[in-house]
């Protein structure tokens, strides 16, 4: 079936280019990788559109059984419903463009390139397995698979210590979240007796009253499960507290940042919320927590993004912030809206990252925006495309972001709950900051006076067509995706489009209420965005000394933001360093001195006392006779005393 081809082709590509890359050479390996991706994208798109334009019921492609132990079953199945098919189409499409772009971007790399393309293929396969999973365990397979690919690709330049450290950090932070995710899956099995989606969803109403005892109290089982799954999602989607790996992940090559850390992998958490919506809907406390974390992340990451100087880090924090938006929407029950933003975001964020990559490529690997400026005349195409991406991100109509982001803000308002109101204020404030940091990036990079290294400027050039071409395609998506998908994802056709793959409680008609928000709320994000752009213009074009003065007079706040709220320092102080010290202590004191001390001490005692005993045997008859005499005296006196 065509759907299976879309998912398995990247695996075949990864195997061929990865295992035989050294034999067939880089060019052939690249050709194989790109060919399978084009094939996957074509098949994925056909599968998606044929599902969207028909009234087919959700179907499965069965690939075989996986784990089968007692009543615990998990099969290798490909789920074919709207939610999965939409993700498949998006992932294969964006991934294909990024594969093509990489041919140009990695062109001058010193390593053999087959490895890079094999990793990209492998990543795409794992991501597709994740989104097409039909049970939680297969989803976890994809979940960990993308984690592995992310680890390999962040650490792609393995001779750079920073890249290796970032790769390990990404893997470990994700794994911390995965512990909770795994226990959540196990608990789902215990409560539902199955981890297969349809059976879970069908059984949810019977388990609403179930409780589970932890922390000395008993809580609704569905809430516990929803919390555990969401903590897993927080790790993968870099939500506040577990976000620390994402900025560091920018050590990887830029196409990787675009594919994994913007468009696809980091959105897996949002996808999980939508996929598990039939369970989440029955866990109102967990949902409120989702909104709270999402809204907080949206604002937090935006504040940090405003002061970063590394062009990729600005976009990374922007991603973090936009993911927060998606969770905020999911938490108020508007999963459709969060999926809508997920898809539009994939276009414009991939565009921004690849654009940034094009800048970095043009500037001979310079990433610090303070050493850029005025690049518009060297890279006009890149500049124009980055403008499009930022317009979409900031939510200027009629570009994609304005449709989906405004819908999120409206949804938080329409939710009417306390946490919804909190999310509304956070997301509106973040909208202002988003526009500000986006234009700060544009102005510092492309406009104003050039601060670039003259050497770098000499070689500054527009990127080759193989890189600009994918940017053009993504730009088309960034312009039109919102308008095109609106009806399907959240408009009147949405019920018919999703066909039950996303569940809302019967009473929660949040999609219907999106249209009924006051006009002020509707236009507030746009006003915020324009204000943010104006402020950026003031700071970085009209009066460039202003931000410096501001940073000096509010040095405390500035340093707090520049150091990303000191999360890394905090974790180092309370987790990493104590763990390493504890490790050394357990080894040297626990194992070597205490545990080994006992048997070694016993051995020493036995050896020592026998040495002493040996000394008694002097061979002198006088000593023996004297000892015997003392013995006899002692015995006789004991006998006499105790008679």
């Amino acid at each position: 079936m065509i759907y299976a081809v879309a998912i398995l082709a990247p695996l075949a590509g990864a195997l061929v280019s990865g295992l035989s890359g050294r034999v067939i050479g880089d060019r052939a390996a690249q050709a194989v990788s790109i060919f399978v991706m084009v094939l996957a994208a074509v098949c994925g798109s056909i599968a998606f559109f044929s599902l969207a334009n028909s009234d087919m019921e959700p179907a499965f492609v069965s690939l075989g059984s996986w784990v089968d132990v007692g009543t615990f079953h998990a099969d290798w199945d490909l789920r074919y419903d709207t939610l999965s098919a939409a993700m498949v189409a998006m992932v294969t499409f964006v991934s294909t463009l990024i594969h093509i772009y990489s041919v140009g971007y990695m062109g001058h790399d010193k390593y053999p390139k087959y490895r890079f393309f094999a990793y990209l293929n492998l990543f795409t396969f794992a991501m597709l397995m994740l989104v097409t999973a039909d049970n939680l365990l297969q989803l976890f397979f994809g979940w960990e698979g993308v984690g592995l690919a992310s680890y390999l690709l962040i650490g792609y330049w393995y001779d750079r210590p920073a890249a290796c450290a970032a790769a390990i950090k990404a893997f470990l932070v994700n794994r911390i979240a995965d512990v909770f995710f795994a226990v959540g899956i196990a608990l789902t099995f215990v409560k539902f007796g199955t981890i297969e989606f349809n059976s879970i969803f069908a059984a949810v109403p019977q388990h609403v009253a179930d409780t589970y005892a932890i922390f000395g109290g008993s809580y609704p089982a569905l809430e516990v499960i929803a919390f555990l799954l969401f903590i897993g999602a927080m790790g993968k989607s870099a939500q506040i507290g577990l976000h620390v790996w994402l900025p560091d992940a920018m050590e990887g090559p830029t196409p990787v940042s675009a594919l994994i850390h913007a468009a696809t992998m980091v959105t897996a958490g949002v996808f999980l919320m939508a996929r598990m919506s039939p369970v989440m809907e029955f866990a109102p406390t967990a949902l409120a927590f989702v909104t709270f974390i999402g809204a907080t992340t949206a604002l937090f990451a935006a504040t940090v993004g405003c002061v970063q100087n590394d062009i990729k880090r600005v976009i990374a924090y922007s991603t973090c912030s936009q993911l927060g938006y998606m969770f905020a929407a999911a938490g108020v029950g508007a999963y459709q809206v969060s999926m809508y933003h997920l898809i539009t975001h994939a276009f414009f964020k991939a565009l921004l990252f690849l654009g940034a990559g094009s800048v970095i490529h043009a500037m001979s690997d310079e990433q610090d925006m303070r050493r850029m400026g005025g690049l518009a005349k060297y890279a006009p195409w890149t500049c124009a495309l980055m403008w499009i991406g930022n317009l979409a991100l900031a939510g200027i109509p009629p570009l994609a972001g304005s449709w989906s982001k405004d819908a999120i803000i409206s949804a938080t308002y329409a939710a009417g709950s306390g946490v919804g109101t909190y999310a509304f204020f956070c997301t509106v404030a973040a909208a202002f900051l988003t526009a500000f940091y986006s234009w700060r990036l544009l102005f510092m990079t492309f406009h104003g006076r050039s601060n670039a290294d003259p050497h770098a400027l000499e070689h500054a050039h527009e990127s080759p067509f193989v890189m600009v071409g994918p940017l053009l395609v993504l730009a088309v998506g960034a312009i039109f995706a919102g308008w095109l998908l609106n009806n399907w994802f959240i408009g009147e056709g949405s019920a018919e489009f999703w066909r039950g793959s996303i569940y809302n409680l019967p009473g929660k008609d949040i999609l219907a209420r999106l249209e009924q928000v006051p006009t002020l709320v509707e236009y507030l994000p746009l006003g915020m965005a324009i204000a943010g752009i104006a402020l950026a213009y003031l700071f970085y074009i009209a009066n460039p000394r202003l931000p410096v003065r501001l940073a000096d007079s509010y040095a405390g706040i500035y340093r707090f933001l520049l150091n990303k709220w000191y999360f890394d320092e905090l974790y180092n102080a309370i987790l990493v360093r104590p763990a390493m010290r504890l490790a050394a202590f357990l080894w040297h004191t626990g194992d070597a001195r205490l545990i080994d001390g006992m048997p070694n001490g016993l051995a020493a005692l036995a050896a020592g006392s026998s040495r002493e005993t040996v000394k008694l045997q002097t061979g002198s008859i006088a000593v023996y006779a004297f000892t015997m005499l003392i013995g006899v005296v002692a015995l006789v006196s004991v006998f006499l005393v105790f008679r």
């Binding site: 059984s65 089968d68 007692g70 365990l137 393995y158 893997f171 794994r175 226990v183 215990v190 490790a583």
Partner: protein, 507 residues
């Protein structure tokens, strides 16, 4: 005699000894003896493996009881007989032992240069002991093989080991022997109570609860050292560091499974009340093992020591699974044992590859090998990921099933056990980074060679098994389905019986 008409298990058990006799008859100068001994040992172990494959194909997976049973009268007046047989729990361990032995022989092809014939003899004798131990159906026979394993292993570490080999060998021997002495007492007590040492009979005998407690601790003393559980694990890092590569592989691959196998064969089915009563004690020790030894592994600067400590942590998962007394937990434990046997063995082989080239186990002496050894980097990465428990490799299935089993017991047990996912990733990735990644700075590493065809041949079966077990684990779990189910229901019945007794009001 058996349904096959010939004593298959005895054949697999004693065939290596036939190989030993052949090895003894080799004559000639030293080089000739060495070459011929290697080939003879390899062929013997391959033939043994081929014969043992009959178990894979002819084992009836629906049958919960013992199969391929052989019974010969031996000391009838004491209730002792020579009885062999396998059930779902033991059958795959025999295959593990027979599969790893030829791999070990092949791995020592170039690295063992002194007393080659004696080394090969030790390995073949070890194979006999291992297979015999897993197929024994009489406690006395089991005990003899269980102890017999010590002797060849002691020699392998003590003669062909590294600098501190004698210390490590004696430590290994004393630790494991001390525990076993108590098991001998338990054996005698059980025989005098039940009048026989027939394991299937003992499994059906219900021992008084007070007696069970003492028996449990006697068994525990013996098996906990073998597993090894915290805090009696410190013999293992020393033994691993000093043992030659093949010794480490077989030690991690098969010998560590003996303790857990003992728990499954004796403690859980024969002493259900005591096992249930002391399960929290086992959980505590296991959780400590997972967290404590993982942290200690993080601090290591010796490759083998690091992997040795990781073994202790992984076996902690196994003991949690066994004492969860449910199907997922026990099957997870069994699967984790098999998987660890392959993955930890393969990791020791990975260490052996660079040790053979550079003759050092210090992690800091390496770095940047990805540059010169891409094939090695790939193989090492695969087994690193399997050790970390990445889905799609064998490591994941066991780990996840144990977590599923544990969560049925207690939420916190599951969560603490699951920390192995983080800690395991931490020490393994840190190890991998220091050896494979980074830039190649040391001059003597520049000329290092990638895997040779012989080394690929050593790794290939392990790679296939790791992926096979990860992608289609049912091929393996179906072997123990029936037996584990029987064990779990036997345990549940015993517990229900006890509750019933407790419910009777005391007069």
């Amino acid at each position: 005699m058996t349904e096959l008409g010939f004593p298959l298990l005895s054949l697999v058990t004693f065939l290596p000894l036939v190989g030993c006799v052949i090895l003894m008859t080799i004559r000639g100068d030293e080089a000739t003896v060495a070459t011929n001994a290697k080939w003879a040992a390899l062929w013997t172990s391959l033939i043994v493996f081929a014969v043992s494959l009959v178990l894979w194909f002819r084992f009836d997976q629906r049958e919960a009881g013992f199969q391929f049973v052989e019974s010969v009268s031996w000391l009838p007046e004491y209730g002792i007989g020579y009885r062999m047989g396998v059930d779902g729990i033991s059958v795959l361990f025999i295959l593990l032992a027979t599969a790893l032995t030829p791999i070990c022989i092949l791995a020592s092809w170039d690295s063992i240069t002194t007393r080659v014939r004696e080394f090969m003899l030790s390995f073949l004798i070890l194979e006999t002991m291992m297979v015999g131990m897993f197929s024994a159906l009489d406690f006395v026979v089991f005990y003899m093989f269980f102890e017999g394993v010590l002797i060849p292993m002691f020699l392998i570490i003590g003669v062909w080991g590294h600098v501190r080999r004698v210390y490590a060998a004696i430590k290994f021997f004393l630790y494991t022997l001390t525990g076993s002495v108590l098991m001998l007492l338990a054996l005698l007590a059980m025989r005098s109570y039940a009048g026989t040492t027939d394991i299937p009979t003992l499994m059906k005998t219900s021992f008084p609860v007070a007696m069970q407690t003492w028996l449990f601790f006697a068994f525990f003393a013996s098996f906990a050292v073998k597993v090894p559980m915290w805090p009696v694990h410190t013999w293992l890092p020393d033994a691993h560091v000093e043992a030659p590569t093949a010794g480490s592989v077989i030690l991690a691959g098969v010998l560590l499974k003996m303790g857990a196998y003992g728990f499954l064969r004796f403690s859980v089915p024969m002493l259900p009340e005591a096992s249930a009563h002391f399960a929290p004690f086992i959980y505590s020790l296991s959780v400590i093992a997972i967290i404590y030894t993982s942290l200690v592994a993080l601090a290591q600067d010796n490759m083998k020591k690091l992997i040795a400590y990781s073994s202790v942590a992984h076996m902690g998962m196994v003991t949690i699974g066994i004492f969860s007394f449910n199907i997922q937990g026990i099957q997870g434990a069994l699967f984790q044992m098999l998987s660890h046997g392959i993955v930890a063995g393969a990791l020791f082989l990975c260490v052996g590859v660079v040790y053979d080239r550079m003759h050092t186990l210090e992690i800091n002496r390496y770095g940047g090998l990805a540059n010169r050894m891409p094939g090695y980097a790939l193989v090492f990465m695969l087994f690193t990921m399997a050790s970390v428990g990445l889905p799609g490799t064998s490591g994941f299935v066991g780990e996840f099933l144990v977590i599923t089993g544990a969560v049925q017991v207690n939420f916190w047990l599951a969560l603490l056990a699951a920390t192995t996912m983080v800690l395991g990733a931490a020490y393994m990735l840190y190890l991998y980074r220091r050896i494979i990644f980074g830039s190649l700075t040391r001059a003597d590493l520049r000329a290092i060679l990638d895997l040779s065809p012989r080394e690929y041949a050593v790794f290939m079966p392990l790679i296939v098994l790791t992926l096979w077990m990860g992608i289609y684990p049912s091929a393996f779990t179906h072997f123990f389905d029936a037996s584990v189910e029987a064990m779990v229901s036997h345990h549940a019945a015993a517990m229900a019986h006890q509750v019933q007794l407790a419910g009777v009001p005391a007069r």
